[in-house]
């Protein structure tokens, strides 16, 4: 490659980085390769923060990559005449590009805090709606029975088929029997590791009905990929009807084994 042509070619290659980078993000939603549908009350805030950071970092990305391209284009040794500028830096510039990013980053951190607190710290004062116990490679569910209390003999046991009421706060008590797992509900913008020996509360309010995936997001062994569950969000009436029906079915088959029913939480 001739030296003159070389500089032009390589500069344009570096220009392709921001161009194709932005194009990828612009085209992806058209192919549905984007944030999946959100049906939770808090999810809008998370998606909003994602898009806000995307816009902010996008501007920095485009600006810095364009500068890099422009400098390569303009200061190509084969094109530019004379010598390089003899300069060791600029105190003013250093101060500017330290203080502005520092303030921006600090603002970003503070700006996140309220949403984080909503999702992970401001737990609603209520009894658990359901206990989810992860194990290799399934989600074991335990609903309080007719007495409304978890850990009593009339609890309802299910696997992988989580039902929850819409438009209500739900509180899940998350546990693990064996190794680490992670309770990931992509459409509800919920993720929480399940840790053996810990009881971790998870709460949210779904705002739409429908059926969605439960995914395990923490490596838990060879069957990690198939640790799949489904969550059904339904109206209070449907939820109560389902609960009653399932409860009757469990009573009809066999009583709950004693040791499981009274196992310590």
């Amino acid at each position: 490659m001739g030296s003159r042509f070389g500089g032009i070619f390589w500069s344009l290659l570096f220009l392709a980085v921001p161009v194709l980078g932005v194009a990828t993000f612009a085209v992806a939603p058209a192919y549905d390769i984007w944030l999946p549908k959100d049906v939770s009350e808090h999810g809008g805030a998370i998606d909003g923060l994602f898009l806000f950071i995307l816009a902010l970092t996008g501007v920095v990305f485009i600006a810095t990559e364009m500068l890099l391209f422009w400098f390569l284009w303009k200061y190509d040794a084969a094109k530019a005449t004379g010598r390089a500028t003899y300069i060791h830096g600029s105190h003013t510039l250093e101060v500017v590009w330290t203080i502005i990013p520092a303030a921006t980053l600090l603002f970003l951190a503070i700006y996140q805090m309220n949403t984080w607190a909503d999702v992970k710290m401001r737990r609603p004062a209520m009894a658990p709606t359901v206990e989810v116990v992860a194990r290799q490679f399934e989600w074991r569910l335990r609903y309080p029975g007719r007495d409304g209390m978890l850990g009593t003999t009339d609890d309802l046991f299910l696997t992988n088929d989580l039902h929850l009421p819409v438009d209500e706060d739900v509180l899940i008590q998350l546990k693990s029997m064996d190794v680490l797992h992670s309770f990931f509900l992509p459409n509800l913008r919920i993720k929480q590791d399940a840790v053996p020996g810990m009881k971790i509360p998870v709460w949210f309010k779904a705002k739409e009905t429908g059926q969605f995936d439960i995914v395990c997001a923490e490596l838990c062994g060879w069957g990690h990929y198939k640790m799949k569950g489904r969550v059904t969000i339904e109206s209070r009436e449907d939820f109560d009807r389902w609960l009653e029906k399932t409860y009757a079915a469990q009573e009809a088959t066999q009583p709950v084994p004693e040791d499981v029913a009274v196992s310590p939480e």
Binding site: I33, T57, F61, R83, A84, G89, L93, L105, A217, P264
Partner: protein
């Protein structure tokens, strides 16, 4: 003593040894159990490049399964002869565990500190060797038990470790929980410990050498950025490694002696009560990341340093903001010790602690930003020579911008709820470690190859290697961002049976084709490397007209490095000094050279 001899000028003047017939034992002590830092550096280089190939092939096998789950694997399928050529899910978990393990512990860390640290530190500070040559030799030979442990683990019952490179207990401590948690995991822990011993020996040596053995006139603030990167890396290793070593022994003890540091009471794995209990799985995560987060910087700071030196050479311009560059490396290292919790936002750690770690993590983006702006400042107003080394160094800057910015998403705790453990993070760390560090390493190979072997690599094939690698790496890794935006989880042998992810197979197939192209491209590199070693054009002492001390030594330097005592008169980045005839002033050029040149011009 080598320390005394370098500090007093004159006595260290070493002449190339006279040629005479050598017995076998001398051959062994010169080229195999050598105490010469350059030979040790090259030993590290060749070993790590070989493991780089293995790690790359493991990655291809991972990509194969992600793109076309349960289809017959070419070559590898026959090699492991499982289920008629398709891979089992436990084999897949082993593949990504060992891909990461090999790349991190046997490639990136030893290639930066072991290969380039060893080769460059004495040369760039003007010393005849390291402070402790025997320790230095041991640091290489302690890698071999690690190579053997990791290598052998592929062939033991149950296969190599498959608990992820992070080895989170109880999956990794409980032998019943996964096939790879048997012998494979024990060998993994032993290998890790040996890598730690090697790094520790190296780190002590680097710190001592850089502090005590600099040539006359080489003050700390005249050190090239490469040396600053290596120095701070050595400090990080010295302070962080003991924690990992201790944690590794605790995990070994959980596995072999029946202790329960990381397992809680009443844990039931595979329908059996497991272990003594009384421990906490999160304890391992804290200890592991207390090392492994600083290790992320161990894996990039030396590359940042080398890239700074290469950029200045081929921009023919002083480094923009030398001191801010040094301070920001130190800042990254300092802050690097208080951000480990950002790996644990979803772990069950107290969410209030998550807020603290979010703030410290956001702030560590600051020194990285300062470095990026200064690199741009360095290129601005330069006279850019598009050599292969320069292209790789420029791509380091361009790609590090992406890897740095995507880190902000994960630092933001609420956003991390969604993207944690998805391909978004896979994109992020591959942009830092592959598109960043590996590209920096290639820049360094093309740049210092003449000093290592006395010949230059072929530029045309170098540029072809750069161009294809650059295209394919972005095809492979940039698309991972949008995959992560869907929430596509990492480490799943097959995600397409989920409603959320079923439509992502074509994109994954595209990425795998790019990955295959990327690995295939390295054939060009390997051919160029070995051909140039023997047949490349002979390089003089200073083929790039660079300023630092290694370019004053012969190429390749003999034992003892310099054939004169280097005395340093200025910083390493005096390019295009006005009034000086040549466009660079080497660190050793006498102080009156500028005046003399100006006078000569006046005549």
């Amino acid at each position: 003593m080598s320390i005394a001899s370098t500090v007093s000028p004159g006595t260290a003047a070493t002449l190339p040894p006279a040629r005479k017939p050598r017995p076998v034992s001398e051959f062994l002590s010169t080229y195999v159990f050598s105490k010469d830092h350059k030979v040790i550096g090259l030993q590290f280089l060749f070993s790590t490049l070989l493991w780089f190939l293995i790690g790359g092939l493991l990655a291809l096998a991972v990509r194969w399964q992600v793109a076309w789950p349960w289809s017959d694997v070419p070559v590898l399928g026959k090699l492991f002869a499982q289920e008629g050529g398709q891979m089992s899910p436990e084999f897949y978990t082993m593949l990504f565990t060992m891909h990461a393990t090999v790349m991190i512990f046997l490639v990136i860390i030893p290639i930066l500190a072991g290969a380039f640290g060893n080769f460059l530190i004495p040369l760039m500070i003007g010393a005849d060797d390291m402070a402790f040559p025997t320790l230095n030799m041991l640091s290489y030979w302690f890698m071999w038990p690690a190579f053997l442990a990791f290598g052998a683990s592929f062939f033991v019952e149950g296969g190599a470790a498959s608990g992820g490179w992070t080895s989170y207990p109880p999956l990794s401590t409980n032998t019943a929980s996964s096939p790879g948690s048997g012998m494979g995991q024990t060998l993994w822990l032993l290998g890790l410990t040996m890598v730690g011993v090697s790094s520790m020996l190296g780190s002590v040596n680097y710190m001592t050498t850089i502090i005590l053995m600099r040539a006359p006139g080489m003050t700390m603030f005249r050190l090239p950025m490469t040396i600053w990167g290596m120095f701070i890396t050595a400090v990080l290793q010295a302070f962080a490694l003991p924690v990992l070593t201790a944690a590794g022994f605790m995990q070994l003890s959980d596995r072999m002696l029946g202790t329960g540091f990381f397992s809680p009471e009443g844990n039931i794995v595979n329908n059996a009560i497991a272990g003594a209990g009384g421990g906490q799985p999160l304890l391992w995560q804290h200890l592991f990341w207390f090392y492994s987060h600083p290790a992320v910087y161990i894996m990039i700071l030396p590359a940042m340093g080398m890239v700074s030196d290469i950029l200045t050479t081929f921009a023919r311009k002083p480094l923009f903001g030398y001191r801010p560059m040094v301070y920001s490396i130190a800042g990254i290292a300092g802050l690097g010790f208080i951000v480990w919790g950002h790996h644990m936002f979803m772990s069950g750690m107290n969410p209030a602690l998550g807020i603290t770690f979010m703030v410290s993590t956001m702030m560590i983006a600051l020194p990285s930003a300062v470095k990026t702006f200064n690199w741009l400042g360095t290129v601005w107003g330069g006279r850019i020579q598009f050599t292969t080394a320069m292209l790789f160094a420029l791509s380091f800057v361009s790609m590090f911008i992406i890897g740095g910015l995507s880190g902000i998403f994960m630092a933001a705790t609420p956003v991390d709820i969604f993207i944690h453990d998805t391909y978004f993070i896979v994109a992020h760390f591959h942009y830092v470690l592959f598109a960043g560090t590996a590209m920096g390493v290639w820049a360094a190979i093309y740049f210092w190859f003449p000093k290592m072997f006395g010949r230059t690599m072929n530029e045309f094939w170098g540029k072809a290697h750069f161009f294809l690698t650059f295209i394919f790496l972005n095809g492979t890794f940039f698309t991972m961002h949008i995959l992560g935006a869907v929430g596509f989880p990492r480490r799943l042998a097959d995600a397409y049976h989920y409603e959320t992810f079923h439509h992502l197979q074509p994109l994954n197939a595209f990425m795998t084709w790019c990955a295959i192209g990327m690995v295939a491209t390295q054939v060009i590199f390997a051919a160029n490397f070995f051909w140039s070693m023997f047949f490349g054009p002979v390089a003089g002492r200073n083929p790039w007209n660079s300023n630092t001390l290694e370019w004053t030594a012969p190429s390749p330097p003999g034992h003892g490095n310099f054939d004169f005592q280097p005395v340093v008169h200025r910083g390493p980045y005096e390019y295009s000094v006005p009034g000086v005839e040549k466009d660079h002033l080497m660190q050793t050029d006498p102080p009156n050279a500028a005046a003399a040149a100006a006078a000569a011009l006046a005549h």
